[in-house]
């Protein structure tokens, strides 16, 4: 089972409307999100400058969850958007079971997301 399938098993789906915030900069990243449909803008705190956009079938929050970070930016929904919510602790549990070389590899890639 790959990560999209794993996250896709989550039955917790948020239906959000244009302009709603999924998460706010400075709050803890305790969940990862899979966009089922719609779009999500990541904007800089204070300036609201658009940093990037995520679309359907894209996952948001893996690096922040793996680093145990706070969200560095705010996520604003564009249009009607369905988002599957997957708890971070389940993913972390799976990663803890992985061999150490795999964990090291994932950490290296995670640091490149900074």
């Amino acid at each position: 089972m790959n990560i999209v399938q794993l996250a896709g098993k989550s039955q917790r789906i948020l239906r959000m409307v244009d302009g709603e915030a999924l998460f706010i900069a400075g709050t803890p990243a305790t969940q990862i999100y899979l966009i089922d449909r719609g779009a999500l803008n990541i904007v800089e705190p204070y300036t609201d400058r658009l940093m990037r956009t995520y679309l359907a079938n894209e996952i948001i929050g893996l690096p922040e969850v793996l680093k145990g970070d706070l969200w560095p930016a705010t996520a604003i929904v564009r249009g009607i958007t369905d988002i599957r919510v997957f708890p971070a602790h389940i993913l972390k549990q799976r990663i803890d079971e992985m061999p150490s070389e795999a964990q090291t590899l994932l950490q290296s890639i995670t640091h490149m997301c900074a």
Binding site: L62, P63, L66, P99, L105
Partner: protein, 124 residues
């Protein structure tokens, strides 16, 4: 980035290739259907986001691009004579899958996110 212990790689799957100093090892636009691991020597990357990154023995060249993209976006050139081990995409996936069934998909998802973040930084 070292993803594998070079000593543990399946020697039957690889092709060994030699590059002279200054020779291009990977070019932007080339499909990411093969991964290049440096067995000996060193190389330098020039890319839109990680300019000047240096590679040495055991490193996979432009690994993030290999995982995330269909085509390499960076060039890599031998700084010193390089012996490179060439693996197919399928072989790398199989090696990572053998390690753990989440290693390949998680690596790819993270790499996709890394390129998305860095490309948006470059364009701004």
């Amino acid at each position: 980035m070292k993803a594998f212990d070079i000593m543990l790689l399946d020697q039957t799957r690889l092709t060994r290739q030699h590059f002279a100093k200054g020779e291009r090892i990977l070019s932007a636009g080339q499909p990411t259907d093969r991964a290049v691991i440096i067995e000996s020597g060193s190389a330098k990357q020039s890319s839109p986001w990680f300019d000047g990154k240096k590679y040495s023995s055991g490193d996979i060249i432009n690994f993030i691009e290999f995982l995330a993209l269909e085509h390499y976006q960076s060039n890599a050139t031998a700084s010193h004579p390089v012996v490179a081990l060439i693996f197919s995409r399928a072989d790398i996936k199989e090696m990572l899958d053998r390690n753990h069934n989440l290693t390949w998909p998680l690596s790819c998802m993270l790499a996709i996110d890394a390129t998305k973040r860095h490309s948006s930084q470059v364009s701004s």
